[in-house]
């Protein structure tokens, strides 16, 4: 096969895009919450691969560590702690799926139309550079205030999560 017919980057991108979109669709439409959770793993991993494809090395590491290794594990813990495993009925019911699909199709169609039709300004062709040092510099010079605010948000959310999820065993219907 002539390698000039399909550019190599388009081939790699198509595989990553197929993984991401297929996993996202499975997560959205699955009737089993555990299957949705593992489809979310495919999506997060695909997005991490997309970051690597785009040269965002620090973001790929952050995605894998925080999203896959933190948020996804947390979601799976919550799924397993809140299911009555002995009941094998549908755990991830969808209500109003035709309306939801219509809204989602309109949104995706509209945004894709804008993405295809807009003459995006293309900058010069840049080789991917390591980004970690540049992100660190930016966080401590241009983006110092959001950095500090994000740290405060993290502190408050950690304390709040501990307070909310404390073990208070009270019967339901208690006023």
């Amino acid at each position: 096969m002539n390698p000039d017919i399909i550019p190599a980057d388009l081939m790699v991108f198509s595989m990553l895009a197929g993984l991401i979109c297929g996993s996202a669709l499975l997560c959205a439409l699955s009737q089993d919450i555990v299957r949705s959770g593992f489809a979310l793993l495919g999506t997060f991993g695909g997005v991490a691969g997309l970051y690597a494809f785009l040269g965002a090395d620090f973001l790929m590491g952050a995605q894998l560590l925080i999203y896959v290794g933190g948020i996804l594990i947390l979601i799976l813990f919550a799924v397993l702690l809140t299911q009555r495993i002995q009941h094998l009925d549908v755990t991830n019911k969808s209500v109003g799926l035709p309306a939801g699909l219509t809204i989602a199709a309109i949104i995706a169609g509209g945004v894709s139309l804008v993405a295809l039709k807009t003459p995006w300004p293309t900058g010069p062709e840049r080789a991917p550079n390591p980004t970690t040092a540049r992100i660190g510099d930016a966080l401590l010079t241009d983006y110092l205030l959001p950095f500090e605010l994000a740290s405060i948000v993290l502190l408050v959310s950690l304390v709040g999560a501990v307070v909310i999820a404390r073990r208070e065993v009270r019967p339901a219907g208690d006023s």
Partner: protein, 113 residues
């Protein structure tokens, strides 16, 4: 409606339209999760999909558009905030489950007037 002339650039080198289309699809899947799920953790999965689609957009524009590092920095903040929000949301879900033994959003009617 997109014409053939609009689709043809998609078969050449990867650029902004490819990434925006993927991001729009993931966003749509997230919207489906948020609007149609009865399970609270399912709704949270949709929110994470939406945040990931925004991150793809940021990194795409940082790579193929303006070219500086601000897109990556914003993505870092989005990841941080997604982690904080997932923590709080799941703490709330677990607290509701401990009290009512169900996280079906149709059963959460205590505040209903």
């Amino acid at each position: 409606m997109p014409t053939i002339a609009d689709i043809m650039p998609l078969t050449l080198a990867v650029g902004i339209p490819h990434l925006l289309t993927v991001s729009a699809f993931v966003f749509a899947c997230g919207v489906i999760c948020v609007t149609t799920r009865r399970n609270a953790v399912g709704v949270l999965m949709g929110v994470e999909l939406i945040l990931n689609s925004a991150n793809i957009n940021f990194v795409a524009f940082s790579r193929y558009g303006i070219g500086d590092i601000s897109g990556h920095v914003f993505s870092v903040f989005v990841i941080v905030l997604a982690a904080a929000e997932a923590t709080i949301a799941l703490a709330i879900v677990l607290a509701i489950f401990a009290r009512h033994r169900s996280i079906d959003l149709g059963d959460a009617t205590t505040l209903k007037g």
